[in-house]
């Protein structure tokens, strides 16, 4: 099982949870497990043609998956996946 960190703006679509435990051998598997359990998340993470949105960054542990094998990156038991969308607040 890997743990997926859900950022604050998306928690409302994930049953208000901060982390979700999922099974999956790759980042893509883990994320599809996540959106299968929480379908409302899908449109926030994926475009209509099923691609991960450009403003949503996905990290495996502390590394950006864009610099690993992207969504094909292998996931081990105990790994942490973080979804890090951009936020802009400051005032």
């Amino acid at each position: 099982m890997a743990k997926i960190h859900i950022p604050t703006p998306l928690r409302q679509y994930a049953g208000k949870q901060a982390t979700v435990e999922v099974k999956g051998a790759s980042v893509a598997d883990a994320l599809s497990g996540l959106v299968a359990a929480h379908p409302d998340l899908r449109r926030h993470l994926y475009t209509d043609d099923g691609k991960l949105r450009a403003f949503v960054n996905v990290y495996l542990n502390d590394e950006d998956v864009r610099y690993l094998q992207k969504e094909a990156t292998a996931v081990k038991d105990g790994d942490t996946i973080s979804i890090v969308p951009s936020i802009a607040g400051g005032l």
Partner: protein, 390 residues
């Protein structure tokens, strides 16, 4: 660490009054006389005198940053006071710049304060940034975030970044020579409306304090050339869990701003880049509106109107006009609770969410739906002055 820029401390000698004032810095080996002179010689530009800008400018002024610039065009209002600690109750209605300048001068009369009463734009950013060594970004929207980043890359100034949402924050140092920029992390902005702002989503009052102080810390470290700056690292702050996590950031060789073949060679239209036209997000066209006075008159006359409140339950608790509560996000699955033969007036806080609700209902075949223009805020302003505003 590699110094990211050079200040000329030899030109900044300290008077005896300043030596006394900065004594707790001067007796630390990491600062000392040389460091304090670097601080005095440094020129830091803060974008925004709001939530992040408050602690940021207060601490930079206290620490003795010699030239402190602030860009802001806003006026203090009551909803700012929960977190923008540089402003006090008596300042409501004043320009934020005037209010901030007064506090900063009171803390440290030795600093040179430069205020710029303007919105940061593609036309003025490069000119403004030129006279400073470091830029600290305390703005609150995506277009300005990208504008600050690109202007920092183009002028070669480090961008000390912080952003907040509810009880979560991010901090990093972008656009140094060796490190990534904001576009390396987020090449594209989210579509408008998908990521709520603090004004829409709320923010825990202490959070800008926490993140703004982190930005101030990074600014001071960059000036001193001490420690490990947040270059190439994104710090994630979760105030609710009080957990701090760190992610690695890389300089993207294909980055349009700071990559090996940059395509961003001048500042662009950032509202267009972020998909926003005009200042305010316009209410969708083709949405029939009703004014609050008309709603009041027709309710008083006993007309058969169905008032639909599309806010969240915790907002309903603050104030309501007795509408049937279905939060906008729940509307698709609860639409069967509504009777399409009745005349429906949808409202939210200010009219943006309810315009979306009306658009959705129209597509679902509802013919007699109106959006209450200005939302419950307009109702409080023009119909029921006793109603609290938030």
């Amino acid at each position: 660490m590699a110094t990211t820029f050079d200040v000329k401390p030899e030109t900044a000698t300290l008077t005896n009054d300043e030596i006394l004032r900065y004594s707790r810095h001067l007796i630390m080996p990491e600062v000392g006389m040389a460091g304090q002179q670097k601080l005095k010689a440094a020129r830091v530009l803060c974008i925004g005198a709001g939530g992040l800008g408050s602690p940021l400018t207060l601490y930079l002024a206290a620490a003795g940053v010699g030239t402190l610039g602030i860009v802001d065009f806003d006026v203090v209002d009551f909803t700012n006071l929960q977190r923008q600690i540089i402003h006090s109750t008596a300042d409501v209605g004043r320009k934020k710049l005037d209010s901030a300048a007064e506090k900063l001068k009171a803390i440290n009369p030795f600093i040179n304060l430069k205020t710029f009463e303007t919105r940061l734009t593609s036309e003025n950013a490069l000119e403004l940034f030129r006279d400073f060594d470091i830029v600290a970004d305390g703005t609150d929207n995506f277009p300005t975030r990208y504008l600050v980043n690109d202007a920092c890359v183009l002028t070669g100034k480090p961008n000390v970044y912080g952003s907040i949402f509810r009880f979560e924050g991010q901090a990093s140092v972008f656009a140094t020579e060796e490190g990534p920029c904001y576009r390396c992390l987020y090449p594209e902005p989210p579509p408008p409306g998908l990521v709520p702002s603090c004004a829409e989503g709320g923010v825990l009052g202490i959070l800008p304090g926490l993140v703004g102080v982190m930005q101030a810390t990074e600014v001071i470290k960059l000036i001193l050339g001490q420690g490990e700056p947040l270059i190439g690292r994104l710090l994630l702050i979760d105030a609710l869990g009080m957990k701090f996590r760190e992610l690695k950031l890389r300089k993207n060789p294909d980055c349009p701003a700071c990559g090996t073949h940059p395509t961003v060679t001048k500042l662009i239209d950032y509202n267009e880049f972020c998909g926003i036209r005009g200042e305010e997000k316009p209410v969708e066209t083709g949405i029939p509106e009703m004014q609050v006075e008309e709603l009041k008159r027709r309710l008083d006359a006993g007309d058969d109107l169905y008032v639909l409140d599309v806010r969240e339950p915790h907002e309903y608790q603050i104030c309501n006009i007795g509408g049937h509560l279905i939060p906008l996000g729940d509307l698709p699955k609860r639409v069967n609770e509504l009777d399409s033969s009745r005349e429906i007036v949808a409202h939210c806080r200010s009219g943006v969410r309810s315009a979306k609700a009306v658009g959705f209902l129209q597509q679902a075949g509802f013919k007699k739906v109106h959006n209450l223009a200005g939302g419950i805020l307009a109702w409080a302003d023009r119909v029921d002055p006793k109603m609290p505003k938030y």
